[in-house]
Symmetry: D2
Subunit: 328 residues, 4 copies
Amino acid sequence: MSKKLTKIAVLTSGGDSPGMNAAIRAVVRNAAYCDLKCDGVYRGYQGLIENEFIELGPRDVKNTINRGGTFLKSARSKGFMTKEGRQKAYDNLMARDVDALVVIGGDGTFTGASIFSKEFDIPIIGIPGTIDNDINGTDYTIGYDTALNTVVEAIDKIRDTASSHDRLFLVEVMGRDAGDIALNSGIGAGAEEILIPEENMGIERLLESLDKSRKTGKTSSIIVVSEGDQIGKNITEVANSIQTRLPDYEVKVTVLGHIQRGGSPSCSDRVLASRLGVGAVDALLEGYSNIMVGIEHKKIVYVPFDTAINIKKVLDKDLIRVADIVSS
Amino acid sequence: MSKKLTKIAVLTSGGDSPGMNAAIRAVVRNAAYCDLKCDGVYRGYQGLIENEFIELGPRDVKNTINRGGTFLKSARSKGFMTKEGRQKAYDNLMARDVDALVVIGGDGTFTGASIFSKEFDIPIIGIPGTIDNDINGTDYTIGYDTALNTVVEAIDKIRDTASSHDRLFLVEVMGRDAGDIALNSGIGAGAEEILIPEENMGIERLLESLDKSRKTGKTSSIIVVSEGDQIGKNITEVANSIQTRLPDYEVKVTVLGHIQRGGSPSCSDRVLASRLGVGAVDALLEGYSNIMVGIEHKKIVYVPFDTAINIKKVLDKDLIRVADIVSS
Amino acid sequence: MSKKLTKIAVLTSGGDSPGMNAAIRAVVRNAAYCDLKCDGVYRGYQGLIENEFIELGPRDVKNTINRGGTFLKSARSKGFMTKEGRQKAYDNLMARDVDALVVIGGDGTFTGASIFSKEFDIPIIGIPGTIDNDINGTDYTIGYDTALNTVVEAIDKIRDTASSHDRLFLVEVMGRDAGDIALNSGIGAGAEEILIPEENMGIERLLESLDKSRKTGKTSSIIVVSEGDQIGKNITEVANSIQTRLPDYEVKVTVLGHIQRGGSPSCSDRVLASRLGVGAVDALLEGYSNIMVGIEHKKIVYVPFDTAINIKKVLDKDLIRVADIVSS
Amino acid sequence: MSKKLTKIAVLTSGGDSPGMNAAIRAVVRNAAYCDLKCDGVYRGYQGLIENEFIELGPRDVKNTINRGGTFLKSARSKGFMTKEGRQKAYDNLMARDVDALVVIGGDGTFTGASIFSKEFDIPIIGIPGTIDNDINGTDYTIGYDTALNTVVEAIDKIRDTASSHDRLFLVEVMGRDAGDIALNSGIGAGAEEILIPEENMGIERLLESLDKSRKTGKTSSIIVVSEGDQIGKNITEVANSIQTRLPDYEVKVTVLGHIQRGGSPSCSDRVLASRLGVGAVDALLEGYSNIMVGIEHKKIVYVPFDTAINIKKVLDKDLIRVADIVSS
């Protein structure tokens, strides 16, 4: 980076996740701490194109660390997928003398950043913000821990009813193609079975397992189903299969839905977001670009966008074994 | 009541609700306090028929006041709808020398109690336990306040995402034919519109109102829809109508489902359950039967089952006006 | 009221309580609904004197209903206790063409309002906002229900430790001279003893009761102590008495403190605040002054300030009996 | 280990922490999974001496994963510090044919285990269960994550009042000699200053910093103080110093106390406890003894008791820097 850094901008893009505000706050405060100016951009890449900027100083981000969602808002941007859109975005950044960009989001966000950064030679640092924990190169993404707690608290409530009525509940949780939310919340909630995209146990093995459970005296059950699971076309289909083949069970379906994306962030997510936000500005000042700031074994790491996006994160096999044992 | 009371039994029936355990606890402890023996019956009327009793003393109900669901479990009983089933239930009660019964549940529970009590001349007192608050003659039912908090906390989370993405969320809440949960949680969650069975606003008026909101600058919205609402056949249909007619909105649907029935009871529900549980035993000792113990203006009231069940509770019109004003 | 109402102002005063923001929001929105202008005043009566006003429209209060505290802030004002201070306050109101005032707070707030209203013949309506529930003429004050839930959730956590270690915990809760918080949260938390200012059981009876409990097999205990309780000069003294006389107990003290004043309001407090906020503007438009808007048996009532302040609210004796029975 | 393993016992000792039940559950279920018998021991080492055993099968631990505290209870044991006590404990274990022990607790627990194991040549595996996160050789201890969330939620509530009244709050949190809870919860809660035992900033620097904050426009502040901090003899002394020297501040003190040890465990703590519980039985079957099962970078590690206890864990300096920046 030849040019001296004097002003940066920060935006959030893609699905919102709890802790994004804490990350923005940390970017803004580290910028001020290092005597950089900082702009916020509303509605992600779309705001870059539509020129929706706001100056942000340390006092402008007070009382945001405990809030879910993102006060800079997020949006999908078809315009940013076109050369014209990105040119407009770049022109707007130049008009405001912005030297570098911090983008908070998931793989779609980083893909856009990677293209934009190479196209216009503007430094961009990514911060992984998604509840799905599906980004390679970082132990955790911002919002994931909070989502796990939200799911587990919801299933704790459902279990009250399941136990009171001797019912079988299928609970669908988010996670896209990654089973992290399902596997961890399933263990945390004491689920009897956990269906994840990475391990297709097949409907027959599920039915056998449930049949066996009932015979050994389990009267109620929770099955956590990842939205990306491949057993049935959808969770209703799985429920119907169980109900038909095991009529003794009274089967109910709950789709947790968007409550998983919101809520006040957990302490762990707030600390993670603070570290990554500070780290992103550090990385820019050290001259980095086109990388994601991640966390590995409690240390900040810099991961090229390509590594973060294109390599599929591997699910922890040991955790699947633990899930099998503790649900027995 | 000619016979002296020496032993009572308590059961929970119908859908479970947070605070039922606190009510059981209060029945058991007031029984002990008044030197009555007390049995618990598992799985409601079905347990009466299948002879599933357990002796309960004051120490057996410790650490239950904070637990959702019902540790005595609940079930539907087809058998109790037959004369034979009820005869079996009565024989089991007599075999254990049970003189009177406390039943915790909703209108179905009270209907069964009313028939059983008259048929066999056994004193029965009802305690209103349902999240729906749809029982006449009591200001509140056990579990209703907790359900309101659960719904409002869930919508607070959804609003994070709605605000971050400028979306419109339709959130379906429970309540059967009663709009109490929808109306109160809708006001509490700051919903822009509230659809309840008691007031069919019609799809056209809803669309007009949403159109107007958007034009006056509202970018995100929450609509709370009672499960008993009559605008569309179901919530997906309503969502589709909005999406088709107001394509500017990005419409999402969330069905909160069974999380609403569970969870640790609120303080208010624990106190209410304690009062009603104590009151039920008091009522038996005073010689009452065939009544529900309710609360009106913070005082215990005795309400004949017929009044509780057969008269439809009236929704508070003033609250509808408040909802209109504060969502403006 | 001879003068036509065109503009009102709203302020919060005294200790903050959860739901105050919801009340401000309802005042602002009903004002707009009725075509009145509305100013907010920062920092209570002190802001009146120091001329800290802000115009508030319906969009300015969005996303406030779920927030604890008061965004208008609160403060004590020595100045308002002087004639000069009040004159200054009145002049500022007149300079901004404010015709009437809505004040949200407790008895101190209403006392000030009463003097000010009579002195300058300006219409003032009060809204009861305090966690203590110590205002006469209203069933509930805003924030009380939330505080009860906060206390009960805290004691649920403490009980985990009490049960795990067979300890006796003295937990001090707020409430000033009123035992409402202690009595209700004590029942809700399943406390073994509840010490309230209205009923001085005496240290000897407490020690006897604890001694008896231990002998009947209770191994852990929670005692809820109201801050206004009269048994000892303070909670540490009570703890020491117990420890000295009943050395078998391992006694611990926890003072819950200011967590009781904060937090996102419960649904019940949000609905109450919405109703009272709407009601306050209604009352002004109906020509009332010098009254508090309260709630009685779910209906809005108008209560003269004198009645609200000067008559001590009576504690529900039946609730004390219930507490005795369920803790047995 | 020459002897074949057929029966193990599990106990909890020292201060309780959320997730201990989840760890017991995992030990019991992995034991059953591996065809080992399993006993639970009540009240830690004291129960070993007093012969308080209970057989535990997989169904006996259902519905425990979400409960705070420890259902096996915990206690201090002076007896276990004597040779006679330990001999009695060993005899009781032999009389029940227990071949090996799993102990869940902190450094005191491991110290006792280490002595006992060497003295009688009985295999013992430790699981780190303490909210303080002060055990060397494991990234996290069970209960730490939950305690952080409890502290942050409490301070979020206190901040409502601090902001509403422009006050300065000193909040004391647990952690013994370790600043982990204070540092992480301080960042998470957005505290302006964090006082930890590892870094004595001195009262003068604190006063300067606060003075500067006020001058730059901060009106309210939260200072998180670790119970082991060295600035003052206690938190009241610190508060008095501030009040005297900076009379503009209205200073309040809150000691969070025992709420920090309780509560339903977070998802992260439940998963950690499940992994460590499974890992402890695995370790026994692999022939290990005198080690703690810990977690490092998401993998199970075996750490000699001596390493776990005697080496002081190092606080993350980078986190102190992050705290400085984000509080600016």
